[in-house]
């Protein structure tokens, strides 16, 4: 019944969705790894990024590349602001306070967007050069699909390189593993954390653009469920592990799409259920996630 092209097409759909989750998960896992903070506000950044892109690119008509860099910068600044305004002050306080604050930020940003911009969704045109439709015997896709996959891969590679090779990246991993000793090494831990926020948020804002370009509509509440699922991806992949976050993102994206594609249609309603069932299963079988480092052993 299912042809090869169907399978390929659905896999690509899964991978594209996975890219979006993975990009978000990237920022979340770094922050969680260091601060143990489930940063709900991260989801709000894709909303902000998408709307920002809408305004600078479509309304102000800036050139695409300039707009893109502006969005990245904007996301970074937002991340920095969140960190400086609240998270930094709460470090060392109760963890729930941190969690609730991030939830508060999410709510704030969502409703701010709703009030200032619009309670209704905005149409987000795919930029002309990304809208071309290609039909091949096996796949039907648009340039934007390729763009999403390529840019995601690029970002992931760049991020991987950053974390593996650069001084700051190594410091980031060190801070995630042992904050106190990192401090002893002369690493300004606060700065490293800020950098983590900035990078993650910039990527999230960029993801907002990808989202808009792919689906064509952006709204003030688009970030929440996506953010939560991205965090699920973080946990599934293994907390604090960057390849894990990517893997988790792809696992979720593929699980969502393929479950709809190959189960009878009436199972479509299980879409979110499946995502979270995977989460619970992974947690029960391998609490530290697929690629996580076991840290649950106690003495």
């Amino acid at each position: 019944m299912f042809s090869l092209s169907y399978f390929l097409q659905q896999s690509m759909n899964g991978i594209i969705l996975g890219c979006i989750y993975a990009l978000l998960a990237l920022g979340m896992t770094v922050v969680y790894g260091i601060l143990r903070l489930i940063n709900f506000a991260h989801g709000a950044l894709i909303t902000l990024g998408a709307f920002f892109m809408y305004f600078v690119f479509f309304r102000l008509g800036l050139p695409f590349v300039a707009a893109l860099f502006l969005v990245l910068g904007f996301g970074g600044v937002m991340g920095l602001v969140l960190d400086l305004v609240a998270y930094r002050k709460l470090r060392g306080g109760p963890e729930v306070a941190l969690l609730i604050t991030s939830l508060g930020f999410y709510t704030f940003i969502e409703n701010f967007t709703k009030l200032i911009v619009s309670p209704q969704p905005y149409a987000f045109k795919t930029p002309e050069f990304l809208a071309t439709l290609y039909r091949t015997p096996y796949l039907t896709f648009r340039t934007v699909d390729v763009f999403i996959i390529l840019s995601s891969l690029l970002i992931m590679l760049a991020f991987h390189f950053f974390v593996k090779r650069t001084k700051l990246g190594i410091a980031m991993r060190a801070t995630a593993e042992n904050l106190e000793v990192a401090n002893l090494m002369g690493i300004e831990v606060n700065r490293v954390i800020s950098v983590a926020f900035v990078l993650g948020s910039a990527i999230a804002a960029f993801t907002g653009f990808l989202w808009g370009a792919k689906y064509g509509q952006i709204s003030y509440d688009m970030g929440f469920l996506t953010g939560v699922k991205a965090f699920v991806a973080v946990v599934v992949g293994g907390v604090g592990s960057i390849p894990g976050a990517m893997l988790g993102g792809f696992v979720l994206g593929l699980a969502e799409i393929l479950s709809i594609a190959f189960l009878p249609t009436r199972f479509a309603e299980y879409r979110d259920g499946i995502v979270f069932a995977i989460l619970v299963l992974v947690l029960l079988i391998r609490p530290s996630g697929i690629m996580g480092i076991r840290e649950e052993v106690r003495v």
Binding site: K167, I170, A171, R173, A174, E177, N178, E180, V181, A182, N183, L184, M185, G186, I187, E188, I293
Partner: protein
């Protein structure tokens, strides 16, 4: 000037955990180019002393001078910049990072790429086994190798004063001996060392000056010759 200022001077420092003083009115001095040993049983306050010198703990009273400069309230990263390095107890290496990355982190505050690479080579020369395991995840090293890595990492910051917290903990005697040879060599390269140890004779054998702590107070202080009569030290350790 007349009198030479010692590299490190701890003046009447008291550190408390909550209300409990861990060290009391501690006086300590480390001259340039020396190895100073800080001995004592568990809970005597040795690690607390090191952490206070490093700036991880804040003294409730007293002052700390480094190179004549008051550093009592300087945060740890800035002390690293001044040339203080702590090799923490239990090594505190980053298990998930590679050996090389661990070492590079030691030189985190330094900007001179060339110098860093040179020092890296220097550390590898000092610890050839680290060179072999350069790209291995540090968590997979043996205990002795990890200790070497921790010390190597400390050296990478090009310290003038190195604080070693129980480097021999959990290591086989043979490895410990190797380690001590290295410590001596490090001193010869011009680094001043404050060494915290349980293993008294070894430390005394290597040190230029010895302090023995008991419950946060200096019980004995003197040159190795002066404290050579192990009996007194033994008393501190094994009880009267």
């Amino acid at each position: 000037m007349g009198q030479v200022i010692s590299l490190l001077k701890v003046e009447k420092v008291t550190v408390k955990y909550g209300v409990i003083p861990a060290i009391q009115e501690l006086e300590l001095e480390v001259e340039r180019g020396q190895i100073v040993a800080l001995l004592g049983a568990n809970g005597a306050g040795k690690t607390t002393t090191l952490k206070t010198i490093m700036g991880v703990l804040r003294p409730a009273r007293g002052r700390i001078f480094y190179d004549g400069k008051d550093i009592t309230f300087l945060p740890a990263p800035q002390r690293v910049r001044l040339g203080v390095a702590l090799v923490p107890e239990g090594r505190g290496i980053f298990n998930r990072l590679t050996v090389r990355e661990n070492l590079l982190l030691g030189a985190y505050h330094r900007k001179d790429q060339g110098g860093i690479l040179q020092d890296l080579e220097e550390v590898y020369r000092l610890f050839p086994r680290l060179k072999e395991r350069e790209n291995q995840i540090a968590g997979t090293l043996s205990g002795g190798e990890q200790q070497m890595l921790a010390i190597g990492r400390g050296l990478m910051s090009r310290p003038r004063l190195m604080l070693l917290d129980e480097p021999s903990l959990g290591l086989a005697p043979l490895v410990v001996r190797e380690l001590y040879t290295l410590i001596r060599r490090i001193r010869e390269s011009g680094v001043t060392i404050l060494l915290v140890e349980q293993s008294a004779p070894m430390a005394i054998g290597i040190a230029d000056y010895v302090y023995v702590l008991e419950t946060g107070v200096v019980k004995i202080a003197g040159t190795p010759r002066e404290v050579e009569s192990l009996e007194e030290v033994k008393k501190v350790y094994l009880g009267g």
